[in-house]
Subunit: 500 residues, 2 copies
Amino acid sequence: MAAMGLLPVPTAYAGPPDLAPYSGNGVRVVVLGAGIAGMTAAYELSKAGYACTVIEGRRRPGGRNWTIRGGDKVEESDAVQRCSFDAGEHMYFNAGPARIPHHHKAILGYCKDFGVALEVIVNDNRATYLHGDGAFEGRPLPNRQVIHDSRGFVAELLAKAISRDALAEDVSVEDKDRLLAFVRSFGALTKDYSYKGSPRAGYEDPPGAGLSQGRLREPLSFKELLKSDFWEYKLYYSERFEQAATMLQPVGGMDRIAQAFARRLGETIKYDCVAKEIRKTGNGATVIYQDGTSQKLSIEADYVVCTIPLEVLATITNDLAPEFKSAIAACDYVKAAKIAFQADRRFWEEDHQIYGGISWTNRDITQIWYPSAGFHRDKGVLLGAYIWTNQIGERFGRLTPEQRLEAAVISGENIHPGYRLQVSRGVSVCWHKIPYSQGAWADWPPGARNLSYHILNRPDGPIHFAGEHLSYLTGWQEGAVLSAHAAVRAINDRVKARKG
Amino acid sequence: MAAMGLLPVPTAYAGPPDLAPYSGNGVRVVVLGAGIAGMTAAYELSKAGYACTVIEGRRRPGGRNWTIRGGDKVEESDAVQRCSFDAGEHMYFNAGPARIPHHHKAILGYCKDFGVALEVIVNDNRATYLHGDGAFEGRPLPNRQVIHDSRGFVAELLAKAISRDALAEDVSVEDKDRLLAFVRSFGALTKDYSYKGSPRAGYEDPPGAGLSQGRLREPLSFKELLKSDFWEYKLYYSERFEQAATMLQPVGGMDRIAQAFARRLGETIKYDCVAKEIRKTGNGATVIYQDGTSQKLSIEADYVVCTIPLEVLATITNDLAPEFKSAIAACDYVKAAKIAFQADRRFWEEDHQIYGGISWTNRDITQIWYPSAGFHRDKGVLLGAYIWTNQIGERFGRLTPEQRLEAAVISGENIHPGYRLQVSRGVSVCWHKIPYSQGAWADWPPGARNLSYHILNRPDGPIHFAGEHLSYLTGWQEGAVLSAHAAVRAINDRVKARKG
């Protein structure tokens, strides 16, 4: 029945690589990087008997999977910040990935296997705001109103066109009435197919007890709405395949996943060890790295899984083939940035009934994210900016940490008047200035995707590559995991053939 | 600035009644019913010094706020069931209210004050299914595909009409290009304004690592979609004012709220005491009730707050004025029903990546609800039916509990083939057969809403009325709380006037 398309078929992910026990015995693998890709590769290979060593430059696992809490240090290439949030399970922010789509089965599978507790992260919230300096005199508008007034206007226009028989060649006579009913329901139109606001778009006074029937909001001006940039993508952002409900997050911070991998890998991971040279040898590879005491050490391997972000890899001495070197240079990385503040009162919940979700602005901060953890607690951590375009990210990166916070406060005031008095202890992360990352995620230029990308999906001798950059899910942990699985399978196939 | 409409103004709820301390000293109030309305009234009055007694027929607080767990007994007028779910914080179902909208400030205020922990309940989930026997050969369709193919078709038709200048009288020439761009973004149209599927609607093969770019789903047939009943309301249900994100639930079950009230009220609540007669006296009222030992007792009060559902109140001897008796008889109650099953494997998560949310069918079960608690745990409790129309509710109520489960299993198979083998230990609640409730929530016929409803919003002498039925938020705990607040204020005003 599934083949006939009669049943809903779960998509194709069939679980992590299913390597035969002991199939890697006697085979040495060096994994470069203890991010999600590197730890996935080491975990799966180790299970099958491979002798793995993970070389990691930082003193913590996770790479860009990074949760920042009070006491943590944020080191950028030219500045150091110390996070001073109060303690508390909900008093964190995820500087890197913060969301897991429900269909990212590979990373969710590890969450399940490792017992990493998950909760919903609210991505779409009708109570948040949209703000644009060029629209509605800069007034922040409720998400529900913009979304549903837009729908209403679209439906009203379409109903007019149908009534005027402008679509007679597209719609049969017998479908016309059904289509009109469909459009009316779609846009919450009145009986005469006009849009006059609707409960979906919200109330001026909500219904209550006694004689409070509620009074609907007047619809926005459609002309003004067209002038805004809301509809370019902000209104539909949370309907994207990777952003649509249900979205999940680990309880207590995204690094719960990194920690779960790291616990299982134990001393397989060598922290504070920076890869300096990668050399192919006759029947394997040598990696030279520098440990915390600045000592240079060398390690031999039959295979290498290199998960180092390409911007960083390009700076490491290596004898990769020229086509590989060019491919590494062809990938761009997004200069994303985040700012987080502590708030001593959860004013977004108390004053605005905002429980999680995102407000949008045309200002550089782009977004304010409200936490989906710690509802109704005294304090909270708010994301005061999430920037993911290079131009703004670069501009933000040139500011000192103090200047970034000030800019974020000024822009936040447009969405939440009085914001300045509510937020404090800000901390920022500009990913292109973070050592060992030098960017937030890979962004292949279209030409490079068709050429260079394909090259790096093959090994150069004993050296295999993995990471989010080697997937069509760049920026997502799922891409990192799936690409690691691919590398693991490829190595295991070679080992099988050799031992065969 | 707020008055000029320049700032977003939080809606009008200004908190619970602000009674002066001791203002109720020496005043006796009998509250009938320890549901949310009754407990709210008793809690607020007690804080101001009123001497309250709550008479409650059941042995538990909460009324229709009722969470069912393993060991609980479900007594209907002609059948008894014993719930046999396994133990576990997430192994429950809320037979009555199960959702709290983010804007229900009054009930959320109590959650905050009482420290009742909240979590997100997923109401809208793009991974769930829509099933109709009359559409698409009865195939269950992914929510994301139906939602976004619908949008795509609407946008494509509108773009055609605009291109043909069929809307020239409604859209100025300078707006035409902007409107076309708007419509294209709205529906995820191609550059030539046609709809060919989109990532929003989902993939046949999702993007992955290596060379897996992903392959979009073919769009559904719009003609077939028009034939379905999906668009009548199912597609937009979760966009309603009361259903839109963020929706919340107490961690561990809705009755955490009832228990929090009950703990604060302590012995003020007399459980297992059934009101039998309500009489006005010269300067107050007398309530005669029967306790657990079948003893008839009587209690005097200066005021009564009667929160008994009107279907039940109509059966209690009283000397209310004739217009009040007619008003009580004029309200209908919805014959809603729920069925819950235990599943020993969370197949909806493992096989379908469904984390919370609702699947829809035209079958009597109407909905399958997936739990928003206990993600990735071994077991779970699934709502196998949520019926809220009288005709189906009555039909279900006439079945034995065993027959209801069998009907639910047969229908569930259409959404989840193999369902029968996955679910067990079913338990059902048909609200119109539950003593002390006799219905799920008030449904005022339009005429009665304009006449009878107004009568009951006034007191009959010392007797005030409260409950969800005395609000425009029928079926919601918020309506119960706000109507209790209104009764508390009205009584306090009279006491002030009398003492004054």
